[in-house]
């Protein structure tokens, strides 16, 4: 459990105060005790004095009585009577002083009895003197009865004195003990209270220090916040519920053109055009009503004209969750808006272009459809009827006529092949790619197997490297491999032995570079740009057969797979045909 510093300090002070209170009570009790002890010492002293005085007066009465007995003078008698009266008073005082002590009271009773006995004897002798004269009185004195009583009185007084002194001693002892004890407690408690007080003071000082640190940190973080807000390109401000600005950042200042201390406390209506201020205040109201952050497009006047801002407005809540202000972060999105408009326009253009492309594509399809139907039919008819003519009139025709008919027939067949190739080529551009994993090694093997007819009687040194597995349309890629390997076989026909190398350069990050190299008849590099064109041939067809569509197909297929094609060669120095295919992760 964590106890707050405040309660620790409170507890410390409370304990200190409690200890001090105890010290106070203890001091009071001790002091009271001391005063009581002092009082009783005083009383003892008084008692002792009183006892002495009683004893002395008793003796004086005897002296006065003796004077009267001897002289018979009334003066002595008066003195005697005054003193004996005084003794009575003194005895009353004494009784009050020893009222608390039963022993002393008893002794006092005895003393009183003895004194009255004594006074009775003295009175008796005075009476004897008055009635019977000096002689009779003198003989009564001689009986020594008075002296005995007097001695007894002295004994009692002495006992009482001793008792008082003993009590005094005892009381002083107790008082001393208690004082010593109390002083100990008071000292300890005072030390404890001091320590607690010091601890409490230290705690308070520490708390104050922590508070100072926290305040410093708060100031630092406020400065940080301020500098972030001042250096952001957005306009940032806070408004109270009444629409008055509580805070604005530097961008706001710059836009408003006045320092922030002239902005704070004013409303949007003081700074903006009425309609803009109204829009802004409507937005603030919405945020206040819904209690949620919202986005608004707001128009802001700049020196160069109105700009569009995207304002994110949000409620600020106090600790009780009550909204006391709205905050806003407002960014200039004019450029974005313009860019969006531009993109929209470009998109429209693109759509228009795509639509016209689609129309063109449709036309192309219709064209190739009609080519396949309408152009092939007359060719078929030429070939068919030439054949029928040959069958029917063959015997009547001379050799030259037969040759002409054959030329007509061959030409028709060749045109049929060209049209078929052209249709295949056009279809290649339109059919969808069906990509899967393709093992190029297998494709090369199959291609070479398919060329067995052309390879019969040939001496070819194959050098085939390990090829990668790639992502491609297998049937299209097969055409590429068959074409390139087929070409290599075809154009090395005059070589014995022919050298054909099939390999792959795997050093590139994004693509495989594959190649087919041969030592065949090669080509002149100045015509290399024609190699991949449709129906472009660098050799006469009576040298090397072909329609000139194969490499055009290769280029088209590789382009559709995201690759490139090129070739290097030299007349009679062989040729190398390259094609690239994107690597798997690059293709994704």
């Amino acid at each position: 459990m964590k106890v707050s510093l405040g309660s620790k300090i409170t507890a410390g002070f409370a304990v200190a105060v409690l200890v001090l209170a105890c010290v106070g009570v203890l001091s009071y009790l001790t002091t009271t005790d001391l005063i009581q002890a002092m009082n009783s010492v005083a009383r003892t002293r008084e008692t002792l004095e009183q006892l002495e005085s009683v004893l002395a007066m008793t003796a004086e009465t005897e002296t006065a009585q003796r004077g009267y007995l001897l002289t018979g003078s009334a003066e002595f008698l008066e003195e005697y009577q005054a003193i004996s009266k005084n003794v009575g008073n003194q005895m009353t005082k004494l009784r009050a002083l020893v009222a608390e002590n039963a022993n002393q009271q008893e002794s006092l009773n005895r003393l009183e009895l003895l004194i009255s006995e004594r006074f009775a004897a003295l009175d008796d002798r005075i009476e004897t003197r008055q009635q019977h004269g000096l002689q009779a009185a003198a003989s009564a004195v001689a009986l020594l009865k008075g002296k005995v009583i007097m001695d007894q009185i002295r004994v009692v007084v002495s006992e009482m004195r001793q008792e008082e002194e003993r009590q005094l001693l005892q009381r002083q002892e107790t008082s001393r003990d208690r004082s010593r004890h109390s002083i100990g407690i008071i000292l300890t408690s005072s030390v404890l209270a001091c320590v607690l007080g010091i601890v409490a003071v230290l705690l308070v000082r520490r708390d104050l220090w922590l508070r100072e640190q926290a305040e410093k940190r708060l100031q630092d973080s406020q400065a940080l916040l301020q500098s972030i807000l001042d250096n952001t390109p957005a306009v940032v401000f806070l408004k109270g519920r009444d629409g008055r600005y509580l805070f604005v950042n530097r961008q706001f200042e710059q836009l408003a053109g006045i320092p922030r201390d002239q902005i704070v406390g004013r409303t949007a209506f003081d700074l903006l055009k009425e309609e803009l201020a109204q829009a802004a205040s409507d937005h603030d109201l919405k945020v206040l009503q819904t209690g949620e952050a919202m986005q608004f497009d707001e128009t802001v006047m700049y020196p160069d004209g109105p700009h569009t801002h995207l304002a994110v407005k949000f409620p600020l809540r106090d600790a009780d969750g009550k909204i006391y202000a709205t905050g806003a972060v407002s960014t200039d999105i004019s450029d974005r808006k313009r860019a969006a408009q531009l993109i929209e326009k470009l998109n429209e253009d693109l759509e228009r272009r795509a639509a016209s492309l689609e129309v063109a594509n449709k036309e192309l399809e219709a064209f190739s459809y009609s080519v396949s139907h309408d152009l092939r039919a007359p060719l078929r008819h030429i070939a068919g009827f030439v054949e029928l003519l040959t069958n029917k009139a063959g015997e009547k025709l001379d050799e030259a006529s037969h040759r002409y008919l054959k030329i007509i027939s061959d030409a028709a067949k060749q045109m049929g092949t060209l049209i078929d190739d052209l249709l295949v080529f056009s279809r290649m551009g339109r059919t969808e790619l069906r990509q899967t994993k393709v093992d190029l090694n297998a494709l090369v093997r199959e291609a070479i197997e398919g060329l067995q007819h052309d390879l019969s009687g040939r001496n070819v040194n194959w050098k085939i490297a390990q090829l990668p597995t790639i992502q491609a349309d297998p049937s299209l890629l097969r055409q590429v491999v068959v074409n390139l390997v087929g070409n290599a076989v075809k154009y090395t026909r005059p070589r014995n032995p022919a050298q054909i190398e099939i390999g792959c350069d795997d050093r590139h990050a994004r693509e495989f570079v594959l190649f087919v190299r041969d030592n065949g008849v090669g080509f002149d590099m100045q015509y290399s740009h024609k190699l991949f064109g449709v129906f472009q041939r660098l050799h006469r067809s009576d040298e090397f057969e072909g329609t000139g569509i194969g490499l055009a197909n290769v280029r088209r297929i590789i382009l559709r797979h995201g690759g490139r094609t090129w070739a290097e060669g030299k007349v009679d120095g062989g040729a190398t045909f390259y094609y690239t295919l994107p690597k798997q992760d690059a293709a994704n």
């Binding site: 396949s372 139907h373 092939r376 078929r380 008819h381 070939a383 054949e387 029928l388 067949k413 092949t417």
Partner: protein, 148 residues
């Protein structure tokens, strides 16, 4: 004549018709051929209506259809035949100059029994016609109701 295995040939192009018949002639199949010149006529014959209302030849053992014909094209004839319970047992072979994927696909979707692209080379053409004729009209056993 009703027991004869007859071939129906639907062809609008006169030259193609002549060549096809010549090819069939070469293989002694020409006299069994019912020639119709468009899709509508082909359907008329198959349903014994219009000018073929009184045809006595019965259903052919095979129908050779050109794809592109006036009025009703080959695909439509094929569609109607394959959706008719009586006619759908009759084999249909498309003989056309189109190798277009969409034509092939459409034909097979409609249930064509074979699809042959007419070769330019006449020798290959006659071979193809001969094989079709020989297979469907001679070798293949027609469905029970086909030659009623």
């Amino acid at each position: 004549m009703t027991n004869l295995k007859r071939i129906m040939l639907a062809e609008d192009n006169e030259r193609d018709l002549e060549l096809t018949l010549a090819a069939l002639e070469e293989h002694k199949l020409a006299n069994q051929v019912i020639v119709v010149r468009d899709g509508a006529e082909a359907l008329d014959y198959l349903y014994s209506r219009g000018k073929h209302a009184h045809q006595a030849g019965g259903l052919p053992v095979v129908v050779l259809l050109d794809l592109k014909m006036p009025k009703v094209d080959g695909l439509e004839v094929l569609r109607q035949m394959k959706s008719d319970p009586n006619l759908k047992v009759v084999p249909v072979v498309m003989i056309t100059s189109s190798r277009e994927e969409q034509d092939l696909l459409r034909s097979y979707q409609l249930g064509v029994n074979a699809y042959v692209v007419k070769p330019v080379d006449f020798q290959k053409f006659t071979d193809a016609v001969k094989q079709i004729g020989a297979f469907w009209a001679v070798i293949n056993e027609p469905p029970p109701r086909a030659a009623k």
